[in-house]
Amino acid sequence: MTAYERVMAARDSKKLTAVDYISYMFGDSFFELHGDRRYEDDKAVVAGLAMLYDTPITVIGIEKGRNTKERMERNFGQAHPEGYRKALRLMKQAEKFHRPVLCLVDTSGAFCGIGAEERGQGQAIAENLMEMMTLKTPVLTILIGEGGSGGALALAVADEVWMLENSVYSVISPEGCASILWKDSTKAPEAAEALKMTAQDLFGLGVIERIIRQPKADDKAMFESLKLLVSRTFEKNLAMTDEELLEHRYGRFRKIGANQNNYMGDK
């Protein structure tokens, strides 16, 4: 598959969304929690409590919606600042009760609009980046579709980041990149190659820890093994002291761009 075919697969409206993952992995145990306690409830972010076997966890997902009506309601998975603030509120709550946090990311990016700007989209994302870096409980992020720039990163400052084999994660959409750099959005396929945005590319660059096989709706065995994998990762991270956990999380990002030989030239 070419990079752009992966982009198309990641955007496919028929693929599973965050609520599907929540329902297949956690079933009836999921209890949704609403609102950021400041402005409103952003439906682009679905969050709540769930049981992972015997362990209560906090699940936060960006939800695109599965049909036109849902997509309108969910703002096509483009969160406002309230969505990121709801996520942060529930992450802080998870820290208080020492519950692991699972983030499911699927967004073309944080919403660009008047209200989003007026209510501090940049500030909301920045605060999440800062606070997640020192959240004293395990955090795991899985990209289940599109990982669009800061809007995705705001839920991905985690101990580990995994990607589905047909998911993408990028600083800008290939269309946006092509139209800015080459004034031609039809060159998106070339931009997709150049941006190195597929799971395979990012694994090679050391930005993610694991690539997950694409599950289908009726693939019970696949969801069972995903659950097991998530559970083992949380167990491993719950066994660490807070200091070890946070040092590891900081180091995970600290190394990107730090190695002179790999990343930068000394002139």
Binding site: R119, L129, Q260
Partner: protein, 285 residues
């Protein structure tokens, strides 16, 4: 007179190739204010810290000029001056862009230690002359190192931002710099140390969504564009015209995301006052 090349008055005389057709006044003696169209003597403008004497429009200035404005004379010791951006992802056309950018400025950010009114501080100044201050891995690394140094030495940090956002030619690695710098800011903050940001025109995208908005105190120059998504992106998304003054520093302050808008002439004095109010003392000579 390189500094003024971007605000050179454009008139038809100037565009004619014939040297004799040029106005008799050397062009670099005058600068037209892009805001009020007033013709300003460059010497007056220089004296007024590149602020229009008529309408208070703040011209963009280079990192070096800002450094001269803020750091005590001769006190600045630069960190990591030898770090240079590289085309890590083999992105088409990036090598050429870097080559061109390096003719304008050494890097997208200048970091170092200095005294400000006698108070020892770590100062980072972004540079619009280098790929519009876009954040690449070198930008992120230099800022992170500056914060780590300040945390270790228990120094306050001042960052002057100007940025078009993340640098797309470095792909995901540039995005990761947002998390990396935020982590370093958080550690500095958790150590009880002061961080002041000074937002200058324009501060947008990944820089707004990371260290620019993470200061204990967030200052901005007047009428600077401060945004997550730039006005053109928003207009394209929502297909309507934006209100005038939307995303200016005054507007963003009114919405509650900036502590104070400070004139350039008052900036050093303001920083000095804030540093001293947080207990940072003048260094002994």
């Amino acid at each position: 007179m390189d500094l003024f090349s971007f605000v050179k008055p454009k008139n038809e005389l100037e565009s004619k190739p014939d040297e004799k057709q040029k106005p008799f006044v050397p062009e670099e003696m005058w600068v037209k204010c892009p805001s009020c169209n007033q013709m300003l003597l460059t010497t007056d403008l220089q004296e007024n810290l590149y602020v229009c004497t008529r309408c208070n429009h703040h011209f963009r200035i280079s990192a070096q000029k800002r450094l001269d404005l803020l750091a005590d004379n001769g006190s600045f010791a630069e960190f990591d001056a030898n770090l240079r951006s590289k085309n890590i992802l083999d992105f088409p056309g990036y090598d050429k862009k870097l080559e061109k950018a390096e003719k304008n400025a050494a890097e997208s950010v200048t970091c170092g230690e200095c005294t400000i009114d006698g108070v020892k501080s770590v100062l980072c100044i972004m540079n619009a002359d280098f790929m519009m201050g876009s954040m690449g891995t070198v930008t992120g690394e230099k800022i992170t190192r500056a914060f780590e140094y300040a945390t270790e030495k228990r120094l306050p940090v001042i960052v002057c931002t100007v940025s078009g956002g993340a640098r797309m030619q470095e792909g995901i690695l540039s995005l990761m710099q947002m998390a990396k710098t935020s982590g370093a800011v958080k550690r500095h903050s958790d150590a009880g140390l002061l961080y002041i940001t000074v937002l200058t025109d324009p501060t947008t995208g990944g820089v707004t969504a990371s260290f620019a908005m993470e200061g204990d105190i967030i200052l901005a120059e007047p009428d600077a564009l401060v945004a997550f998504a730039g006005p053109r992106v928003i207009e394209q998304t929502i297909r309507q015209k934006l209100p005038k003054d939307f995303q200016t520093s005054e507007f963003v302050m009114q919405k509650g995301f900036i502590d104070a808008v400070v004139d350039r002439g008052m900036l050093k004095e303001t920083l000095s006052k804030l540093l001293k109010m947080h207990g940072y003392k003048e260094a002994k000579q």
